[in-house]
Symmetry: C3
Subunit: 464 residues, 3 copies
């Protein structure tokens, strides 16, 4: 398969990444160190306990992001290698970039940065927003463009997260507002500004095959299994974490079944749509994040999970085509249905949960369950009285508004910079194709064009 | 590919599932709550400890059931999406259904149901029986039929498990008798009653391809790795759990090698059969469940693992064809070889292990290692004296008999109800095909019948 | 596809494995037992704590070896089943063989062998060396030959590891020298002695397809995620383990990005090579093992990870073809680039880290962080003074030399025995093909040659 030379900016990607790695080394050499070894045996036991209580959650989240999300994106039949690799590259780049930015801020206030697992986890959360956002432009964007998105989105996320959690005191232990809603509208903004001209016609390589749908479904199942770890990792150990795990399990389970109901009712002949399953089953996990550790009855988690799944499937069926027609909005993975709508639902649920919570417990859980466990929210907790509860509910709404507004503006600006020609946006006819980014051996070796020849095709057919 | 309209009962699946979700919400709203938050710091530490000691095992088991078992079932080359999705749907449905049933029983005795991770785990075990049973009718059954199986099997399992563990005091920490033997004969009963007429001829889509065998093998490997968590999760922390983990590891390892020996000796040219590998390697884990935490030397675990693997492979080679010819018994996944025969072997091994255990330790392990940790088995422990040991061995045999008898009767009755026309049994020529249950984009979109056209086939060939 | 009868040694594999399982049973029956149950409640708590602190790491490593490494080897498009199965078989065989050998040694010194999770872990590490080494001859070797490699390599590894760690007191917590360097040069020695005659021409089935590259990439990602568990499992709990985890995460992350930089600069058109990604991203983890828990700043881990990735990619681009041309050296998986070069780099880094470490901490970490935690290294720790540090650095270099020398000699001898005709080396034209080792149903059943017929091919095409 002959690919026309598309190589002008071939040095941009390695040069940019290489320069970044150099800067990272310099930054680490100057400012970052490990904790001092514990002097006392008790301290050593404490460190060991922290590892055993955090590291399994951390590993679960790594599996989700690297393997689960990567596989979920392989629904494009000829773009699997690119989807997996770009996801992996972006995760690492964004995590390092978030480490640097957080380290710089910390350095100007407190001096030397002490690296630990918790700081890596926070940086990983920043990287998640990038991985979600680029779903909107999957397949039609070059690696350079994706890195540009990461470069712009991580600082925007950190600023918005600081405002939402520390200034407004929003309760959002699972990142429903700060991560999912933010990254969704950031991604939609990027997509809108990048593909301003209008809706693309369906690309012939855009259609999933049963086999690529199967791989993507495996990715969804991996995400589904480990989602409770994502929601609960930042909870306070003990009751709060236990409740967050149970609520997430209930919401995910209800969402899985409701997705089948909704998809089956909406599709012709009562069949299921693979993309509904791949996304709807996870919608419950997105929505539950904001309320997972609050004092609410288990039935609320079930109801929220079901409602999110229905919303997600309805979004795929009606809203995405509508946005495509009316706003010429490209949303390749349907991030608005998986992260936007359930995120808004979750934010609304958190406000309701705060308002209707029994009086005597509201105070304790508000102060106890703040995601940062820090001073800002304890102040909020202190102010809880008669009006404190409704004020906290207002804060949740304000946090949602901030997340949507900030992300849309930042996303539109980022998308505009992606139109720079040096970022090597792939031409339409080469989109959704691994061969633009990967060198396959049979293109070069003496095998004679490999699997495209008659003989190669026959050989492969024998062994399907 | 034109599929004739097969749509009369298209509303039955979503209506049934939707109604069930509604009933579940109602039940949870009325009867289910979380534990009160711990008042004391010590209690909070205890909850945290329970999470760290149970949650990793729980996640391992979820990976096994959702990803491992799902992939194991994708050996049918055109039925992968259906196998994964039906497995996922059944797991969630059966778990919720078991939660409701257990909750109702608990409610009538003790009032409000307090949900925790342990209750979810017990419900997950009930769901496992359904996932195993439907392996016998994989590919020839509609989702409605599968849900009917789940609806009938979960209460039958709960009743049989109550009789076996609480009334008879059977020791079966890994569910060899209560889960594997029960679900195997339940599934065979269903299959017999459903396909009464006679043996089906080999369906052209029934033959695995190397690629579908590869996916299935990956599923087996995932199950193999996490099997120790399944066996050990309900053991008492400490020595008992340690021994259960070690015994399972030994049995699985011996079983893996013996499978290669047996398959290689039985197949022509000394080649291996993928289906032997996919099943035989796990047989050791099935058998070890009943004895994993008993006081027996490590060599017993190795021997049991080897013996189970040989039995499983022999079953595939000789017994399955025989049962097909003589009893017209369909067993698509060979559950009789993976769960039935090794389960019986494990039950026999548990009786032998109890009889030959050193006198001074038998008492302690019998009382210590009961799966429920509850009062029924402690009573058994109290009665241990000279005759107690042989009585306990008899109980193991009685438990096995109850499991086989109850499951066969319940399975046959369930299978008979599956013949109801409204459950939409798929016609033979549409069996083993995802397109009966999934809407693929290329069937509807303007691409012109997608991959079936000349152009589509060529395009795909280039990119195999 | 007609396969000529290649069956003379068809009984060798099952007979050898069967005999080995019998010997294993005998050995376990005579010499191996479990620990006595803890008499005290405190001891039981200790056992429980040990499980919760070790078992999750152990499971992570099992996932790496069984699923991750297995999938990584499926880059050969028609050899996936064999790659997965042989890897699985070799892991189990080598682990049992290492258990026997270690048990025998222990038995002659201390009597009865008490089996625990730690002993299984040590045996698993011995098995890792075999799994790495056989990568050099993947696809061109029969299962009998692979088992012969395992039979020879495990004792060689145990001896070399004893010399390196216990006699020389080398610090190597992640097995950089003892596992990676040793297994790499062992494998190269085997390959050289086995394929003495000269370089093979490119085999038509040797070229990866995009789909097989995708599976292999998933395997790499699984290895990447769990690598910190592999490096940190033998560290002392507390600070040392925490530092090992963090250093590994940093090295892996830097390595992932640098791989993209290097591959993109070296390949034509700035494209990426799948094999670079599959290997380079892991090179950082290989190199960091020797220094993961040492007192060095975080920047060193980043730099080492980057440097290893660059070295690995350069090796693939220049050294492997050179070695092929000059030394006629076959290295199918490129183990020299992934394990050899980064391993040497890691060993050098450990010597440097010891030399430049701050005086006051060097003593403590040397004695504290020895992998065996045993007496040999504590003696080393005692001798630390002015000259102790440079002496320890020399020991690291001596350990590297021992690992390379011993493995090359042992590997060449092993490779020579692999030329025995009874070991059934596959003829060149049947290499890289699953059908030599697996019986597929369509070869035997009445379906009429299955997927190779016109009809089968058409049917499959429809469902790609």
């Amino acid at each position: 398969m002959a690919i026309l030379p598309f190589t002008q900016p071939r040095y941009l990607l390695p040069l940019f990444l290489g320069f970044f790695q150099g800067a990272l080394l310099l930054f680490f050499a100057l400012f970052v160190t490990f904790d001092e070894p514990s002097a006392q045996a008790e301290d050593a036991n404490l460190v060991a306990y922290q590892i055993y209580s955090t590291f399994p959650f951390f590993q679960d989240i790594q599996v989700m992001l690297v393997v689960g999300l990567g596989l979920l994106l392989t629904f494009l039949p000829r773009y699997g290698l690119s989807a997996l690799t770009h996801n992996f590259l972006l995760l690492n780049f964004s995590m390092q970039w978030a480490l640097v930015l957080q380290g710089l801020i910390h350095h100007f206030h407190h001096g030397q940065v002490h690296l630990d697992l918790h700081k890596l986890l926070i940086s990983e959360f920043a990287a998640v927003t990038v991985l979600i956002s680029v779903g909107a432009i999957l397949g039609r964007s070059s690696p350079c463009q994706l890195l540009a998105v990461a470069t712009c989105e991580v600082p925007a996320y950190l600023a918005s997260e600081w405002v939402i959690v520390n200034c407004l005191g929003v309760l959002d232990v699972g990142g429903t507002i700060t991560i999912h809603v933010f990254s969704c509208y950031f991604g939609l903004g990027v997509s809108k500004a990048l593909f301003w001209a209008g809706q693309k016609p369906l690309h012939p390589k855009e259609t999933p095959t049963p086999r690529s749908d199967l791989m993507s479904l495996v990715g969804m199942l991996i995400l589904w299994v480990f989602w409770p770890s994502f929601v609960a990792v930042l909870c306070q150990p003990g009751d709060s974490q236990h409740r967050a795990i149970l609520n997430t399990l209930l919401a995910m389970s209800a969402g899985a079944i409701t997705t089948v109901v909704a998809s089956s009712l909406l599709e012709r002949d009562g069949k299921l749509s693979p993309s509904h399953l791949q996304n709807g089953s996870l919608a419950g996990g997105v929505a539950i994040g904001a309320v997972a550790n609050m004092a609410m009855p288990p039935v609320a988690a079930l109801a929220l999970g079901s409602l999110s799944a229905v919303t997600c499937v309805l979004g795929f069926r009606f809203l995405t085509p509508l946005l495509g027609r009316k706003l010429a909005l490209q949303d390749q993975c349907g991030i608005h249905n998986l992260h936007g709508l359930p995120g808004i639902l979750g934010a609304a649920a958190s406000a309701v949960a705060i308002l209707v919570a029994p009086k005597d417990t509201s105070r304790s859980y508000v102060s106890q369950l703040s995601p940062s466990g820090g001073n800002a929210s304890e102040v909020v907790g202190e102010q809880q009285g008669d009006g404190g509860v409704s004020r906290q509910a207002l804060c949740q709404a304000a946090g949602l508004a901030v997340a949507i507004g900030a992300s849309l503006v930042a996303g539109l600006l980022t998308g505009a910079t992606l139109r720079l020609p040096c970022l090597a946006r792939p031409p339409e006819r080469l989109c959704f194709d691994d061969s633009l980014y990967f060198k396959f051996q049979d293109q070069d070796e003496s095998l004679g064009a490999g699997s495209t020849t008659e003989e190669g095709a026959l050989a492969l057919k024998e062994h399907v």
